[in-house]
Symmetry: C2
Subunit: 342 residues, 2 copies
Amino acid sequence: MASSRTTDRTTIRTVAADAGVSVAAVSKVLRNAYGVSDELRARVETSIARLGYRPRAAARAMRGQTDTIGVLLADIRNPFFSDIMDGVHSALERTKYQSLVGISQSALSIELALVDAMTDRPMDGLILVAPRMVAADVTVTALRSPTVLIGHHEPQATLFDTVNDNDRLGAQLVVEHLVATGRSDIAFLSLEIDDPINALVTSQREIGYRAAMAENGLSAHVDIVRAGQSSRETQAAARRMLKSGERPEAIFCWTDFVALEVLSVARELGLSVPEDVAVVGYDNTSYCDLAQNDLTSVDQSGHTLGLQAARLLIERIKGRISPEHFVVTPRLVARGSSRPRT
Amino acid sequence: MASSRTTDRTTIRTVAADAGVSVAAVSKVLRNAYGVSDELRARVETSIARLGYRPRAAARAMRGQTDTIGVLLADIRNPFFSDIMDGVHSALERTKYQSLVGISQSALSIELALVDAMTDRPMDGLILVAPRMVAADVTVTALRSPTVLIGHHEPQATLFDTVNDNDRLGAQLVVEHLVATGRSDIAFLSLEIDDPINALVTSQREIGYRAAMAENGLSAHVDIVRAGQSSRETQAAARRMLKSGERPEAIFCWTDFVALEVLSVARELGLSVPEDVAVVGYDNTSYCDLAQNDLTSVDQSGHTLGLQAARLLIERIKGRISPEHFVVTPRLVARGSSRPRT
């Protein structure tokens, strides 16, 4: 034991020496203190990852195992999160681990409080699904507890794992499918959300959508519309798009849950889907198959995302410190809502 | 302090003396041991409730507060549970409490393991939503931790609170509405589940359905059909009902989630709703309002149930020991799926 490198023997001093900075500077990064430069943060994080350093609280948590992992969900109203949880449950089925879920209601303040509660209790590790917190807060969380993120694109991250759909490709598949079914004026109904580093799934889908439109030489009358999460905001945006003089030929929605609202608004306005307007969702949740929806969607296998995240988390809990970034390849599932017009 | 009655001064001996039984007998009830008679259990539970006794583990949990409450949900796929969680979140908003959710996937073994994990951690209290566990396990849970049950009818319970919809009345409202819209051959698509004491919402709705059919002098060709939770089982049951030579004029479904599947099967079979068959759900979830569903349903206000459960739980955590049994009065929300036939 005395000669082997263990995480317990790595201290804040070792990290400071490795990074060539002061102990106070490392401490500032760990506390996520105000005024830490991006460059300092990157240097310290690189050393932390290389040395496998964990601050004391997290080390204590790892020693006193609770056999519980925490899962942070933004919103259980979106049925896609059920698919993710099914995957998490499958992965944990034959292990000693159980999951407890915190629901943030898409509010950053609740999210941060829940993550604190989960790391303080402590839990053995965390799966954060599409968190709203900024990158620095993710770092601090990952330093306190083994952490895997789903739906957060940061492929260079060294302190935590990520599990993602290739969201750019997913959006490209939608545009190509709609072009192949004879539509060219294609709008994207996305989410109103702050995301300076393009880590979120909607930002990635916007990039994919724009790239595919450009590749096909298309420019939509209305390209990207962003609406808040609520049913009221979604329906208002859909109504504006569908009642406008230049109604798009197709509306690609960032998630099925939004597409179901668009189908409803179209019906209320007396429009026929897919004749008057095609509608496409994302996530391929169970609602797509219901005959009254018959909704074309992109399958990113929430089950696989959840399963893979739980597997990676258990590896991290058991000691892996090198980062893994797992990406699922999405596929388009065509249904009646985007059939070619007759 | 020395003269006041406190829960700390009540011991297993005090309980045994009060109940007129041995300490070993009380211990057996607390451990939920095999071979405890219903009569012995009732005597001990009455004394426990009267004296406000809490076993040591629960008392310890109450002293070392974690400011966390555990919520057990059967299944986040049913959108009704989102409404309940919204209510829980509303109640906790201005308190120091946070909730962590365990999802049992409708499996008893997972449910019991989660409840153990939640009481061992410990949490300050538990909300169990429609648990599958038998009454004796609920008792043991309530002895370990302040507990409130939603969707579990046991109005005589002394050790825990309950929050329920008047499910019998809800089912009666549906039958009366369907009769008023001209239907008499009304089937009830209920849930396949073991419930010897009629504590579950589906048992209560079956009782209400039967009573209302009898009151109206009606007997359906097919009265109660019970199906498993899965989409496959639900759709198979719906298909059998709708394809039978004696197709019911109306199908009342125990939850909206099932009614959406029935709408889908009807459409696939080329049947028109409400002309060929009326469909009614229960829970009045957000999906009912979508134009492609336009589903009549019973509103039991999941938000109110969750809110009230969290309020009662906080009272219990703060020391209340007398039981409260809160009942919501449901109301029917009529939509297109049960319009009178033209």
